[in-house]
Amino acid sequence: MDVKTWTYLIVGITFAAYIGIAIWSRAKSTNEFYVAGGGVSPIANGMATAADWMSAASFISMAGLIAFSGYGGSVFLMGWTGGYVLLALLLAPYLRKYGKFTVPEFIGERFYSKTARVVAVACLIIISVTYVIGQMKGVGVAFSRFLETDYNTGLFIGMGIVFFYAVLGGMKGITYTQIVQYVVLIFAYTVPAVFISLQLTGNPIPQLGLGGELADGTPLLAKLDQVVKDLGFGEYTTSSMGSKLNMFAYTLSLMIGPAGLPHVIIRFFTVPKVSDARLSAGWALVFIAILYTTAPAVAAMARLNLSETIQTGKIGSAEGNLEYEQRPEWFQNWEKTGLLGFEDKNGDNRIQYYNDQNEAFAAKAAEYGWKGNEMTQVDKDIIVLANPEIAKLPGWVIALVVAGGLAAALSTAAGLLLAISSAISHDLLKGILKPEISEKDELNASRVAMVGAIILAGYFGLNPPDFAAGTVAIAFGLAASSIFPVLMLGIFSKRMNRQGAIAGMIAGLGITLLYVFQHKGIMFIPGTSFLGSMDENWFFGITPNAFGAVGAIVNFAVAFAVSSNTEAPPEEAVELVERIRTPGD
């Protein structure tokens, strides 16, 4: 069977499973719709949380980013796992004890203020919609590339699938679907990694293979360091991402931002007890760590394979570089997408891939008759998708990776859609506009809200705004500078009052937005259209991304300054804090 047949088969089977689950687990009450009846087991919830947490960005883009930044890429690995520790220790158990449906609901009640609740709803919707757009776009592109339909058809199929199981099943349907999606995505991620690790090092465990030896006895990482250094790139295991301070701020921002993402936080409302919320966080991190510890192996091995495919012999020798006519099939396929580009600058019909920004090496390269780096375009996002092809793995593995990427995108999209719909129907409609609404009407309203969100996301997916890359930085900045600090203060400070919380949120938000807009020029890079246009700015626009941490600090500082100069919060708010701090009473 060819790759296309395999793709239809595997993607078809997984999608049938998602829809089957949606029908089987249809939500009947608001409780089931918002928090799956509060009866999900910790391990099951852990898997669903992992699927929520790991979007198309983690699945498709992260390994590529690491492959081209080496040690510097560690900020993503430490950031997106370490942030989870923050969530588990600082937020999850307390919000579970609070025991209601949504994040804005907690903020509104803790700060006895409808204004605070509305501000939280606004942040939540901006964060979630931005994220959904990125995911829907990923779905559309993945379909169009591999099923060979056009982009719009791919997007409509994706919208239809999400519509079906998210609208029908609510949190209950999403939870059970996400468990299956987690299994699909982790299998899809690790299988190629195991094969490639075996090929290169003889060790089937990628985490060990990365520290293993190649057939000739040299350690893989030492060899990789040598190979990239010889071509003028920075040494793989030591090249850093800016200064230590930048590495620090960047990692911190990547930790705080996701820890404030509402769709991940509401996951902890679905388990029966506080102790289950803690345990569930542990399992979720186990499931996340499987992918995150495999990613560096995928990255390093892909970089080595890519380099050795192009630089086939001695550097500088006439026969040392791959002839353009001899290029493998995957190379041709990706050239068609425009994500891989070659230009024969010195007219020798061979490919020279090296770092022409490195002056010392560029001088040496000129002696060889090289006239600049000829790989004019190497999109980092193709690494994970092209990896099985580069390693010459069978067709079904390639198809599996497609299904995995789709599972990652769909699971995150569904979680986000639920967060949006609950913010609209539960917080805005029932909480503020129409408190007397019946449960049945609320349920219907949340389904309508979700349909609206899907259509909106689909619209932006079809007409991607130029600023898509920029808006993700805004979403992360918002989560880091508004939601995370206000939740932490709500739990850890009894003295924090309404004025402090609102002022903090607005100050944190304001300064982050201002900063991101100032950097528009840097951020809104055109032409980053494949799956990870959202990620491009995480790589290029380091400063605006790292700013979330600063926004959070501003939020904390302003909140403390304002609250200590205004009256103490009322008795009920203090009582609420005391109640959520202890389980089982």
Binding site: N31, Y84, V85, L89, K100, G211, P219, S275, E578
Partner: protein, 108 residues
Amino acid sequence: MADTKSLSERRQAYWRDNIRIMAWLMAVWFIVSYGCGIFLVEPLNKISLGGYKLGFWMAQQGSIYVFVILIFVYVRLMNQLDEKHGFAEAETTPSTSSDTEPNSKEDA
């Protein structure tokens, strides 16, 4: 469950212990990621761990393993703390009704 102390005293004692546990765990969290993975990465890279340099390994593998262990240690310590202060939750069967306020019953 010792009911000699008032609820508010038990809550305060529980919270103090909770903060201490969190502070220790967050210190480990900081040391393995920011400490070993970023600030001390060069000296650690002089040590090798199999085919890895130690600093690089900490940044791309080790810190993640420690994070996982941290959360399970936290689960264990907190469960013990719940017992110690009499805040352990009763074994409940997951509610299937549309009980919207699972924690509304206040301690007498």
